[in-house]
């Protein structure tokens, strides 16, 4: 955590408050980014195709061939592998946000030590999180700003 440094205790406290509010804004943006990460991976078409193929093969009139079954098995394995990786990525991103929130909520901090947005940089696990962080800390000139 960063130690607030300013000319007087009250201005130091105000600066630390501002830093902590910025850290909160960064964490809020990271949570929003997670919503996108936790979306269902757009591979559900493969599940439907697999289901339809197997349903067709279940018909007594259909000839079950090993090549088709192997193809369906591979399709499902690919889907499972991609899902596992996407879920792992989202889990790691969520862990960093949770760690940031716990640091923000920590009750036993050294006097004057506050969480600053800069402290969050060491937690991130991917470029997407750094991009979200940067968008909050260094907003584009025309982007909407908090007014209160």
């Amino acid at each position: 955590m960063s130690m607030a440094s300013a000319h007087s205790p009250s201005s130091a406290s105000a600066a630390a408050d501002a830093e902590e509010r910025l850290a909160c804004a960064v964490l809020a943006a990271q949570v929003l980014a997670l919503r996108e990460e936790f979306r269902v991976v757009a591979l559900s078409d493969q599940i439907w195709t697999a289901s339809e193929t197997l349903t067709r093969l279940a018909d007594p009139a259909a000839a079950v061939d090993a090549a088709t079954l192997e193809q369906v098995a591979r399709m499902l394995e690919t889907h499972a592998f991609l899902q596992a990786q996407s879920f792992d990525r989202a889990s790691q991103m969520a862990d960093t946000v949770a760690t940031g929130l716990r640091a923000l909520a920590a009750s036993e901090r050294p006097p004057g030590a506050r969480l600053a947005a800069l402290d969050l940089l060491g937690l991130y696990v991917c470029e997407e999180q750094r991009r979200v962080h940067d968008a909050v800390v260094n907003p584009m000139p025309d982007s909407p700003r908090e007014t209160s």
Partner: protein, 123 residues
């Protein structure tokens, strides 16, 4: 085919990777972090290739790679990093530690298998 050591703290990832690798004819040994990986290597495991995550508890992927490179038995064993991390800085850090290849999650099974094939010594 080859003996592969897989290191990842996600049980789902380990299971899914193991399935893909076994179906491709490889044998698989696994660990949940770098420390378990080091224990396997010092215990005598001699994988033909190692596949490791970067962000893991206890010992991360970079620290594991450094340890593996200090071990005479795995000094030249190909090590593939499979990670969520895509920053050039981390990639360079892994390369400097001794990583042989870098794949970003999510990666297609075929991309993973062809990377392993390229790095494995010809049979």
């Amino acid at each position: 085919m080859a003996a592969v050591l897989v290191l990842d703290d996600s049980a789902t990832m380990v299971m899914s990777l193991s399935r893909i690798l076994k179906n491709a004819g490889h044998t698989v040994d696994t660990g949940a972090d770098g420390r378990e990986g080091v224990a396997k290597l010092t215990g005598g495991l001699k994988p033909a290739i190692i596949l490791t995550d970067l962000n893991m508890p206890n010992m991360d992927g970079i620290a594991f790679i450094k340890e593996a490179r200090r071990n005479a038995a795995t000094r030249f064993t190909p090590i593939v990093v499979l990670t969520t991390e895509s920053s050039a800085g981390k990639r360079e850090e892994a390369r400097a530690a001794g990583a042989s290849a870098w794949l970003i999650k999510p990666t297609e099974p075929n991309a993973l298998l062809s990377t392993l094939k390229q790095l494995l010594p010809a049979a």
